[in-house]
């Protein structure tokens, strides 16, 4: 599956510039310590966490994209760090559960 398919199908708003890429699997977490041990490269990372250290963890794991749920929006310095690391950030108005169901219905496992 591609990022563009996820964006179009689940009505995401892009927060920074992004290039289309493959995605594989989903990881849902709001804790940096959990992300670095649990998320896999290429995952869609779904989170409420908008702190800068989320980007530091997402970069280390090499997730394909980050989706902030419940319309959470990171500060400008977080966007700047994500741009530098080349991590596409998106926002969804859905809560975590509703958004997870959308990804499941899209065929993501």
């Amino acid at each position: 599956m591609r990022i563009s398919e996820v964006v179009d199908t689940t009505a995401l708003e892009a927060l920074n510039a992004w290039d289309d890429d493959d995605v594989a699997g989903v990881y849902i977490s709001d804790m940096v310590s959990d992300i670095i041990t649990g998320a896999q490269a290429g995952n869609v990372l779904v989170t409420l966490q908008t702190h800068k250290n989320l980007i530091a963890a997402a970069n280390l794991v090499d997730v394909a994209m980050v989706v902030f749920v419940r319309d959470k929006r990171p500060a400008d310095d977080v966007l700047e760090l994500a741009d530098k690391a080349g991590i596409p950030l998106f926002v969804s108005a859905d809560d975590t559960w509703t958004y997870a169901v959308k990804l499941y219905e899209l065929g993501m496992r």
Partner: protein, 172 residues
């Protein structure tokens, strides 16, 4: 010397707290990893130091094991990782960052003795395995992770970076 082309994975993953202490007598700082259900906040005397609690963060500790040959690398000397944003040309980490091609991110492996008074830092075997592990996971050759020991930092207390720890949650 091993001839194995290691394929690392995490093992012995433990959740706990990174507890930071300071000595109110000499200003020294120390930290340790605790798996207690609640982060310890006790004050105590240890030799010339009077340690008091300065804060704690939810964190994980882990070791690395090679899936091919079974070699295990102990990382119990690593307190955490920090994405370096250092631009100080006088600092070896900052100078290293400035010399890297685009797509490279420097992470500093933090040991428990930020003053390095003990002469110890994260082991070289640990640093080598961390570099191999994180780069093996990357999907594109355009990106690269470089992990360095915190002994390369000029001054950890003034070092610029983003520590991978969960701040603000343990007070809930």
């Amino acid at each position: 010397m091993s001839t194995c082309d290691h394929r690392w994975s995490m093992t012995d993953i433990r959740s706990g707290y990174l507890v930071v202490e300071g000595c109110y007598h000499c200003g020294a700082r120390s930290s340790f990893f605790s798996t207690e259900p609640v982060a310890p906040v006790d004050e105590y005397r240890e030799g010339p130091h009077f340690w008091e609690y300065r804060g704690s963060y939810q964190a994980v500790s882990f070791n690395l094991v090679c899936e091919k040959c079974g070699q295990k690398v102990d990382l119990s000397d690593m307190a955490g990782l920090m994405l370096s944003t250092c631009t100080d040309p006088e600092c070896r980490v900052g100078a290293l960052a400035a010399s890297q091609p685009p797509g490279t991110t420097i992470y500093v492996a933090l040991c428990y003795d930020s003053s390095h008074a003990s002469g110890h830092c994260v082991s070289q075997a640990g640093i080598t395995a961390l570099n191999e592990y994180f780069n093996q996971r990357l999907r594109s050759g355009r990106r690269r992770i470089v992990v360095v020991p915190c002994s390369m930092c000029n001054d950890l207390d003034r070092c610029r970076g983003i520590v991978l720890a969960d701040t603000g949650l343990t007070e809930l």
